[in-house]
Subunit: 302 residues, 2 copies
């Protein structure tokens, strides 16, 4: 499915590496039990293994690496945040939500299994995320682990991602202005991208006041990411996206593209990427992967 | 709805007290935001406030009190476990799951709101549980907090409650024997009741080896609870249960009653309660509330 050539060798290597590591870790951490729960864990594995850009794990591990965190610990934390992302996609795709048939180029969980299993698989991945963060393999320091729990729980719930999803549902029957759409997307997509960066810094034991510029970076790429998504949906190529496209306009939803027009939206995304990179000025070569991720976000075609 | 007179004054007072405290804490911890997320938090509050026996909070706080834990901290942890219980009821009631119209005598969340909101409200309560446990109000000690996270996450996910729910779905199209039904119920209901007791002991800083008898107590009352539920479903009185009854037989599900017969099931539940109380032999009057809870579990009519 992913036919886009990534020109930056650092990014290409980073994406390939994180994909392999995340697939391997999900495989190891989600063994299929030898009883009637097998179907549930199989559905979790179906959704979690072998798909997606692994953008949140890439961000988390890139930040952790800047601060010298052991790779294995960072991958564990990355599994937690990716579990939250995957659960949100399973539930988003349900008939009562977006009713999507395709995800990462294959049938969505409720079609490959059934709706009840999809609901439970999403729920189980949500709980699994916090089980993973509770484990000493993430960090021997319980304070670091509990800080990770707080950051991820806050970003996932009603004040974060789920709150953004609710706004998105309300948006289908309302006229939202640019400010409200921005707020919606900062929650729906931005909260978890922000948590990825934050969790990398927590693992690196960077105190909250030392994370301000990283938060700025995360906020800017989060918004750029969503504008780019709206542009992809607008210009839609179903093969590249690996999911149904052009749905926003069909649903009558306000997007950055409908509010700004494609040209201004594209400019805005580019500006945000430059601003994101600007937040990294105090860092040297060790932040090059984060810079490459920021550029990739607007250049990607899916 | 609750017209059953509770004869034990200690239990009657404990149930009344915990109901009021849990309602008050949910009310304080779930303020409705002044934007489009309001509907989500309203749905969470609709499900969380003003209903249910609060059995898990009662167990958790009763154990915590035995070990001198500050009441406010225990209530916070109780809010976390009750949030997991409430989320599981919201998702269980969905059309693709049990398709129930009534819960605690009022319309289920997907009927009072809509299915998408019900899915999100459940998800948000799940994340909220871990956000609450991450907060220092539960315990100043990060190790205690992370132990609580581990216990609750494990009890909620594919290896605990959600795994039991999956087995329950598979059970509709299978012939389960008594051993498998027992395993199913130990996961579906028992895991969270066990976590309630375990979390009380964690708050009390009782090391794992000192929790063995409490685990035995929890295991026995968990099974007794489910047998009692099957008996209530079998003898069904919709007014008392506050939900649809007689559904298990209609769905062709194996239950303790269908496998053992009502008389032997009732005997088995009574025997388990005696066994549960036996596990508390090393404790004096401070365990009287736990003893009363064990008896209540088989005597209740809803």
């Amino acid at each position: 499915m992913s036919e886009v050539v990534i020109s930056d060798p650092l990014l290409a290597e980073g994406l390939a590496r994180i994909s392999e590591e995340i697939d391997g870790a999900f495989d190891a951490l989600l063994p299929v039990p030898d009883d009637q729960r097998a179907r549930l864990v199989e559905a979790m594995r179906y959704a979690a293994i072998g798909g997606g850009k692994r953008l949140r794990p890439l961000l988390l591990t890139a930040v952790a690496e800047m601060f010298g965190v052991v790779r294995e610990a960072a991958i564990r934390a990355a599994i937690a945040i990716e579990s939250i992302h995957v659960y949100s996609l399973i539930h988003d795709d349900l008939p009562c939500m977006d009713d999507d048939a395709l995800r990462h180029g294959k049938p969505t969980v409720h079609l490959a299994y059934d709706e009840a299993t999809a609901v439970l698989a999403g729920d189980s991945l949500l709980a699994f995320a916090f089980e993973v963060l509770g484990d000493p393999a993430v960090s021997a320091d319980p304070f670091t682990r509990i800080e990770l729990v707080q950051a991820l729980a806050h970003a996932s719930g009603a004040q974060g991602m789920a709150g953004g999803q609710m706004m998105d549902i309300v948006a289908e029957n309302s006229e939202f202005d640019l400010q409200t759409i921005t707020r919606l997307q900062q929650l729906k997509t931005g909260a978890l991208l922000g948590a990825a960066v934050e969790m990398g810094a927590i693992l690196g034991r960077i105190p909250p006041e030392g994370r301000t510029h990283l938060r700025g970076y995360a906020r800017d790429i989060g918004l750029a990411f969503q504008i780019a998504d709206d542009l992809i949906d607008h210009e839609g190529d179903v093969l590249l996206a690996g999911k149904a496209v052009g749905k926003d306009a069909a649903a009558g939803k306000q997007t950055f593209v409908s509010l700004l027009g494609a040209e201004r939206a594209r400019e805005q995304a580019r500006m945000l990427v430059e601003q994101a990179i600007g937040h990294l000025a105090q860092h040297g070569k060790e932040a090059d992967l984060l810079r490459a991720v920021a550029r990739y976000i607007v250049e990607r075609k899916h």
